[in-house]
């Protein structure tokens, strides 16, 4: 804690950072984050890494530990090429949803940038991870590090025992299905006691004569006797096999007639990680919005307190402005809505609606327009929404006008696309609903479910793709994924497309 009664002093002056300066800045940021904004964060573990290490982290989906797979090598080769030819910069930081919250800062950053990055990642993102309901319910911040270590070792052990090719085959197939490896609606089943125990033994580095693999083979074999048997009619099959099932990897892990236990464990690892990332995919706008708002608030506060120079503030604001740039739809730089821009604008808008509501705001947001404690309103929003519901609840007509949003309807049966809504009184509600839908993963990602598999009969795995609004799957990739699926299932696989007529 910094002493508040002393004369305000500069945290740093000049571009070079040192660990002492970082600590001083961190304390000043923490003071504002906790005592002013009222954030609630995991302890921070801030790691300084080089550009090359940042590239490493990139290729392993940003995790500190990851099992080996060729696709990560491919991503690394591509990112490296882009970076070396100057076509792509590196992120200033990467932050991991774990307890303690790990954030990586690049060594190249200036002291001003390190300050900005700490405010952004170590407090903004950190608060969001700890408090948002999706992360609280679906991810295990305390256990992820151990789980990653386990996954890495387990897959390495499998490679040693069964060969690279065999493991690669399963991982390739599992990766192809990883988007279908999450529970969207129901809670994921808890790991069995035996699995937990095995994990615990691995974590403790339990020195037994058994190999890692034996532990897992013992703990997972025997338990999971496949529930086949008897001449079940469809309805009882459905019940015993939990069909229809949206989590295809889970289904394969439990019911595939051909997979061995170690292969099932690999599927499990892939789907656990997919599930771990699922909340992040659903909260891009909010997560970045929250972090960007927090860093913006903090750097301005630091400047007001006289703790950073005008030059440092300018540098931070410059970088901030680049991050929240939103090119318009006809700009060559346009590539969709920028989650930083939209998120940040919405957070600022909430503050505005609390502090200076207009008549329109009072009409649209009776719950919190003019609320004296905007910090509480904001924390509440961060905790209880995901992108889709957040936009649906908080996007104001004011912002729709500011962004000049409009809806373009693209109907394949019509020769041209049609502008169906613009930012006017009749359009606000529809635009808001359309935009919210654009962030609804259940809507963006194809809805594919396992609907039948008769293990006693022909053993064909039947999938159903529910087609909404006439949008089908991309054909070539579909065939490839089905090949992988066939490998994991061992018998025939078929997919039906069922048109669902939802008129909204």
């Amino acid at each position: 804690m910094l002493d508040k009664n002393g004369a305000p002093d500069l945290l740093f002056n000049g571009p070079e950072w040192t660990f002492e300066l970082l600590e001083k800045a961190r304390d000043a940021i923490e003071d504002i984050a906790l005592n002013d904004l009222g954030l609630d964060v995991y302890p921070n573990q801030i790691e300084i890494i080089s550009a090359e290490q940042m590239l490493d982290a990139y290729s392993c989906v940003g995790l500190p530990l990851m099992y080996n797979h060729w696709s990560f090598g491919k991503h690394f080769a591509r990112d490296e090429a882009l970076y070396r030819t100057g076509r792509q910069g590196l992120a200033y930081e990467i932050v991991i949803n774990s307890n303690p919250c790990i954030s990586y800062n690049m060594e190249e950053n200036t002291m001003a940038m390190q300050t900005l990055v700490m405010a952004h990642a170590a407090f903004g993102h950190n608060h969001f991870f700890k408090n948002n309901y999706l992360f609280q319910q679906w991810t295990d911040a305390d256990g992820i590090q151990d789980y990653l270590a386990f996954a890495k070792n387990y897959i390495a052990a499998c490679e040693e025992r069964y060969g690279w090719d065999a493991v690669e085959e399963i991982l390739d197939a599992a990766h192809a299905l990883q988007n279908q490896g999450v529970f969207r609606y129901g809670r994921p089943p808890k790991p069995t006691a035996a699995e937990l125990e095995a994990m615990q033994r691995v974590r403790d580095g339990h020195a037994s004569a058994q190999t890692l693999l034996d532990i897992w083979t013992d703990s997972t074999l025997g338990k999971e006797k496949r529930e086949v048997s008897r001449d079940e009619p469809y309805s009882s099959r459905r019940k015993s096999m939990n069909m229809p099932q949206e989590n295809i990897l889970y289904f394969l892990e439990k019911h595939s007639p051909v997979l061995e236990s170690w292969q099932c464990e690999i599927l499990r690892i892939v789907r656990m990680l997919a599930q771990y990332f699922y909340p992040q995919k659903q909260t891009k706008v909010m997560n970045e919005g929250c972090a960007t708002f927090v860093h913006y608030y903090i750097i301005n506060k630091l400047y007001e307190q006289g703790r950073i120079t005008q030059g440092a503030l300018m540098e931070m604001v410059h970088s901030h402005t680049n991050v929240v740039l939103q090119p318009e739809f006809d700009d060559p730089r346009f590539s969709g809505l920028n989650p930083y821009a939209l998120g940040f604008a919405m957070m600022q808008d909430i503050q505005r609606i609390c502090e200076n509501p207009t008549e329109e705001d009072r009409e649209w947001f009776p719950d919190f327009a003019g609320d004296p404690d905007w910090r509480k309103v904001m924390r509440n929003a961060w905790a209880n929404y995901r992108d889709e519901s957040f936009i649906q609840q908080f996007l104001s007509p004011h912002l729709i006008r500011k962004f000049k949003l409009f809806t373009l309807t693209d109907d394949a049966t019509q020769p041209n696309m049609v502008v169906s809504q613009i930012h006017n009184r009749t359009g606000y509600k529809t635009i808001r609903r359309d935009l919210a839908k654009q962030y609804d993963l259940a809507y963006i990602e194809p809805d594919i479910q396992v609907t039948d598999a008769d293990l006693k009969g022909d053993r064909e795995l039947k999938l159903t793709h529910t087609v909404r609004e006439g949008i089908h799957l991309q054909d070539e990739d579909k065939e490839h994924v089905l090949l992988h699926l066939r490998r994991l299932w061992g018998y025939g696989v078929s997919m039906d497309a069922v048109e669902l007529d939802v008129s909204s």
Binding site: E47, E52, N68, E168, D330, F403, L408, I422, I431, K478
Partner: protein
């Protein structure tokens, strides 16, 4: 509580495991591209960019990571976009050409959008694939012989010397400094003064004030001229001369002679192997010499110096007389590459045929003329892939082979090898790149 960790010192290459798996996965494709790159690329140009690695582009096909995702076309969709300028409800817009719509972005998220995938192989990875998984030794530990010559080296400036070594720039700088310090009047000041005097002198009659002024000016001019005389434009003090000291310099120039039989029996396969052979020697040598030249000599029954393209791709008919190439090499050395200034390397590829008793002459030429001036000489005989009796038995062979075997027994820096596959090439150089003292002392 909160803490910082400095990870910068952590071991690098965390993703090496992933890269190995990636290269393994794409090996077939990469190998094909590398093989093609050898064929397409010139040895001389090639080595320049191999210093940092080799860029390869492979088809992305086997590297696809397929997923279920929505097609970018068809159906009914609504996009919310920012930045409306003058659209009103009901405006119609043409669809952008295929591939550019929002939906398409999703599909190419993982970089699979294009059909090709480019990345850079490190030099070691490139060589490893080029020479078919042979185990390359630690390339750092090689030795090359460098010749020494006496040269001169600049050794600063002195105040005395011969006029031809006068350093004009330094001298003039000193002169200017001295002139400024001593306030030597410039020529233009003098001329201005003279003009003023002339003007006054033309006035006739002059009033006393003008007379006085004229006298004053004349005095001034006199002083000025005296000062200009005393403070010289260039003074011996200003002079600076370059000096040189004699010095032994290590020669860092090398020339590689590529000799190849291009008679009808050398086909596509033979030439391809030969190209790798020359490439390998060139690659290794560019690492140790600052300046590298390469000379291509092809021969049938007579030898010619040609450019690289002609060397590998032009057809020539005729008999085979190997000694012509050796003579040509000798001739070029005498003409352009004095052995005390150049490190000379020879590499010869042939299918082993030679005319009559010419082989004995080759032996003499090598032993007496060429080997004494060469750092290293490698001979590669390309044989049929099925020619096991030759590959396994170094004693068997035709005239040329037998004669070269005798050369090898007498000269330690001569290596020879039979080659049927790319992986046979490296062993020729193995001895050479072993860290040990070697023969091949340079004449001169």
């Amino acid at each position: 509580m909160h803490h910082f960790i400095d990870r910068r010192a952590n071991p690098k290459g965390k993703s090496i495991g992933n890269r190995q798996r990636f290269l393994r996965r794409a090996r077939e494709n990469i190998k094909e591209r590398v093989d093609r790159s050898v064929r397409d690329k010139s040895i001389q140009d090639g080595s320049a960019d191999q210093a940092s690695g080799e860029k390869v582009t492979i088809p992305a096909k086997g590297l696809k990571e397929p997923r279920f995702f929505h097609d970018s076309k068809g159906g009914h969709r609504r996009h919310v976009l920012p930045g409306n300028k003058d659209f009103v409800v009901g405006d119609q817009i043409k669809r952008p050409p295929a591939g550019g719509s929002e939906g398409g972005k999703k599909g190419s998220d993982d970089g699979d959008g294009s059909d090709e995938f480019s990345f850079t192989l490190t030099r070691e990875e490139y060589l490893e694939i080029l020479f078919d998984g042979l185990e390359l030794p630690d390339l750092v530990e090689k030795q090359t012989v460098e010749t020494e010559t006496i040269g001169t080296r600049r050794a600063g400036l002195t105040t005395a010397g011969t006029p031809n070594n006068l350093n004009l720039v330094r001298t003039m700088r000193n002169s200017l400094g001295r002139r400024i310090a001593l306030q030597r009047p410039s020529k233009s000041t003098q001329m201005a003064l003279e003009a003023q005097i002339e003007e006054l002198e033309e006035i006739d009659p002059r009033n006393p004030a003008q007379e006085e002024m004229l006298a004053e000016l004349k005095r001034k001019l006199e002083g000025l001229i005296r000062k200009r005389k005393v403070v010289g434009y260039i003074d011996p003090l200003d002079l600076r001369f370059d000096t040189y000291v004699p010095e032994k310099i290590r020669n860092s120039r090398a020339v590689v002679f590529c000799l190849m039989d291009v008679s009808g029996s050398m086909q596509e396969r033979e030439k391809d192997l030969a190209k790798r052979f020359f490439l390998l020697l060139h690659l290794f040598l560019t690492r140790c010499y600052e300046h590298m030249e390469i000379v291509f000599v092809r021969h049938t029954h007579h030898a010619q110096e040609v450019d690289e393209d002609t060397f590998f791709y032009a057809r020539e008919t005729g008999g085979t007389i190997v000694s012509t190439a050796l003579e040509k090499m000798k001739e070029i050395i005498d003409e352009r590459y004095p052995p005390d200034e150049w490190n000379i390397y020879g590499a010869q590829a042939s299918d082993g045929e030679n005319f009559g008793n010419d082989s004995a002459r080759c032996k003499t030429l090598l032993l007496e003329e060429l080997l004494p001036v060469c750092q290293f000489y490698a001979y590669m005989e390309i044989v049929e892939e099925a020619a096991d009796h030759l590959l396994l038995n170094p004693e068997a062979g035709e005239d040329l082979w037998q004669n070269f075997r005798e050369v090898q027994s007498q000269a330690p820096h001569f290596e020879m090898q039979r080659v049927a596959f790319a992986s046979h090439i490296y062993p020729i150089f193995r001895e050479f790149f072993m860290p040990k003292a070697r023969g091949g002392v340079n004449a001169g």
